[in-house]
């Protein structure tokens, strides 16, 4: 019942991190990301310590390095973007070989690379150790707007349905129209986007009627997720260590 990428996102396991209540992990992830963002760019050493803090979580979660690095590759587009910064930034400049690179641009690159990598790493630990439905029920227990988590819940639940439907439509196009030029294919897909909307709308109507038939009265019942122990102490210690690093970095720069 979880989303299409759930199996790719989730790393099945029984580590101490897997067994933590989702809301604990969500709070820890946000606290860690906030510490990363608050750390001054030039405190290069601090990012080493933050990486170590993240590595502790990855290790405790028993996530294999290959899986972690593969998921980390999502940030490659940002990396390319970040690498352009030294070339468009303002002075002062530094000569590297025959290139004249902007010093603020270089720091900007470093800032994005370090912070995006650490933050993406933290969110990988969360999604690798927590099923999508559990993350949503975690947000519910953290009193996120119910409407928002309900919509997001429907979204991840029907993602697989909609994506596979899109796949079937593309197969149908290929079967009926044969090899299309890139341009014709694009035009067809754009028109299909409209058809897909109609299907999504009608599906939404059907789901709603089915829900009404089952006694829905405007509020989604709370997800019956297995109760996991809410242990805040470990998480507080972990996130606090990231904040100690961030505070030290702020004070020393």
């Amino acid at each position: 019942m979880s989303g299409v990428h759930a199996h790719a996102l989730h790393y099945h396991g029984h580590s101490p991190v897997h067994r933590l209540a989702p809301e604990v992990k969500i709070v820890a992830m946000f606290a860690f990301v906030a510490a990363v963002i608050a750390t001054p760019t030039r405190a290069v050493w601090a990012f080493g310590f933050l990486a170590a803090v993240l590595a502790v979580a990855v290790g405790l979660a028993e996530i294999p390095m290959g899986f972690f690095l593969k998921r980390l590759s999502i940030e490659i587009p940002f990396v390319i973007f970040a690498l352009a910064m030294p070339f468009v930034g303002q002075g002062p400049y530094v000569e590297v070989g025959s290139l004249s690179l902007s010093v603020p641009g270089l720091w900007g690159s470093w800032n994005v690379l370090a912070k995006a990598t650490l933050s993406v790493g933290a969110s990988i630990v969360l999604s690798a150790t927590t099923e999508v439905a559990d993350i949503l029920s975690g947000f519910d227990r953290l009193r996120a707007p119910r409407l928002l988590t309900a919509i997001a819940g429907f979204m991840v639940r029907y993602l697989e349905v909609v994506v596979s439907e899109l796949g079937r439509v593309r197969t149908a196009i290929a079967a009926r129209l044969g090899d299309l030029s890139r341009r014709r294919e694009a035009a067809t897909l754009a028109a299909v986007s409209g058809t897909m909307f109609i299907r999504a709308y009608e599906r939404g109507e059907r789901i709603h009627q089915a829900m009404l038939a089952r006694g829905y009265q405007g509020v989604m019942p709370a997800a019956a997720a297995p109760e996991l122990p809410v242990r805040w102490s470990g998480m507080v210690a972990w996130a606090a260590s990231a904040w100690v690093v961030a505070a030290a970095a702020i004070l020393t720069t």
């Binding site: 994005v112 994506v163 789901i207 720069t253």
Partner: protein, 324 residues
């Protein structure tokens, strides 16, 4: 367009986060009132659809492909509140589950990709439709124009955030020029997809389109092809150019305006003195002030050049298709 972590400083991230939360809260409430409890599954399934459509790649230029962002399409089909809410959910899920777009940049991304696009696309679509004759082709031209303008508006929102708290010290003029140029091209693609998708929905279930709910459209019940497509594409582009040229001069004092507000409320000085702001904060502010005129001019020139390229590509590919 998904901004990663570390690109916008903490103060600006928090500020845009507040904007995003407020805008999303209002949107959810308005959408809920309009559709009662029906909106929950509908919003969820359309959010899934937009996520799925974003996975489709469309060729923009040889070697360059882009994908639908969907803010304008969602707003036209579902209305601005529901559209903004649905795209916001997509952006949030992408950040939290797929690590696409930074967690700390959630406010920035929700604001730029969902709120700004939906709330710009809706009035543009309505106004353009009001001016043009009430036909299906006009609705598609209005969709083309509104999608184009909404993408540009989203990129302007990013430039504004970058001016307030960007990291890396790229001159605002360069950022504005680059963002405008790239997003003018993306906007043409977005406009074409949005208009074509809307055309299909109008041909099959016009009753589902919130954007034309109170408008009687005439036109054939078939999906337009050939010359009709050229007509709506050109109309849409001309309207979009006119809008950009008309709106840009008014928008030009905008960064200064926000900057002034920020300074008056102490937000900017807090951002500068805060260790998080870093040593780059102050000269960026100075850069905006001195370069305002230049940046606006370069932005407009960039837009026009990108348009020319876009029109050329459309014309060439059309001629090639005809001769083939």
């Amino acid at each position: 367009m998904h901004v990663p972590d570390g690109f916008i400083d903490a103060a600006t991230s928090v500020g845009t986060g507040v904007v995003a939360a407020g805008g999303l809260g209002v949107s959810l409430r308005k959408a809920a009132r309009a559709l009662r409890d029906f909106h929950v599954p509908l919003a969820g399934v359309t959010a899934a659809l937009i996520f799925a459509l974003q996975m489709l790649n469309f060729p923009v230029l040889p070697g360059v492909s882009g994908h639908l962002m969907g803010g304008a399409l969602a707003a036209i089909l579902l209305g601005p509140w529901m559209g903004a809410a649905v795209v916001s959910v997509v952006v949030i899920v992408q950040a939290l589950f797929f690590a696409d777009g930074g967690v700390s940049a959630l406010g920035v991304n929700v604001t730029n990709i969902a709120l700004v696009t939906a709330f710009v696309a809706w009035p543009v679509f309505r106004v353009v439709l009001k001016i043009l004759p009430k036909t299906r082709l006009s609705a598609m031209a209005a969709a083309m124009a509104s999608a184009f303008v909404s993408v540009l508006a989203g990129s302007f929102a990013f430039v504004l955030e970058y001016a307030l708290g960007g990291v890396g010290g790229a001159p605002i003029g360069t950022v504005l020029g680059a963002m405008t140029g790239i997003h003018a091209l993306i906007g043409i693609g977005e406009g074409l997809i949005t208009a074509t998708a809307l055309g299909t929905v109008l041909a099959v279930r016009p009753d589902l389109v919130q954007g034309v709910a109170d408008v009687e459209l005439s036109g054939t019940d078939t999906v337009p092809t050939g010359r009709a497509v050229t007509t709506f594409v050109l109309t849409g582009l001309v309207v979009a150019i006119a809008l950009v040229l008309f709106v840009a001069p008014f928008a030009s004092p905008h960064p200064d305006g926000l900057e002034t507000v920020a300074e008056e409320t102490g937000f900017a000085s807090a951002a500068q003195e805060h260790p998080i702001g870093g040593p780059l904060a102050d000269y960026q502010v100075a850069g905006v002030e001195s370069e305002t005129v230049g940046t606006i001019v370069s932005g407009i020139i960039g837009t026009v050049i990108a348009f020319a390229i876009g029109l050329g590509v459309v014309a060439v590919s059309r001629r090639r298709a005809r001769s083939a």
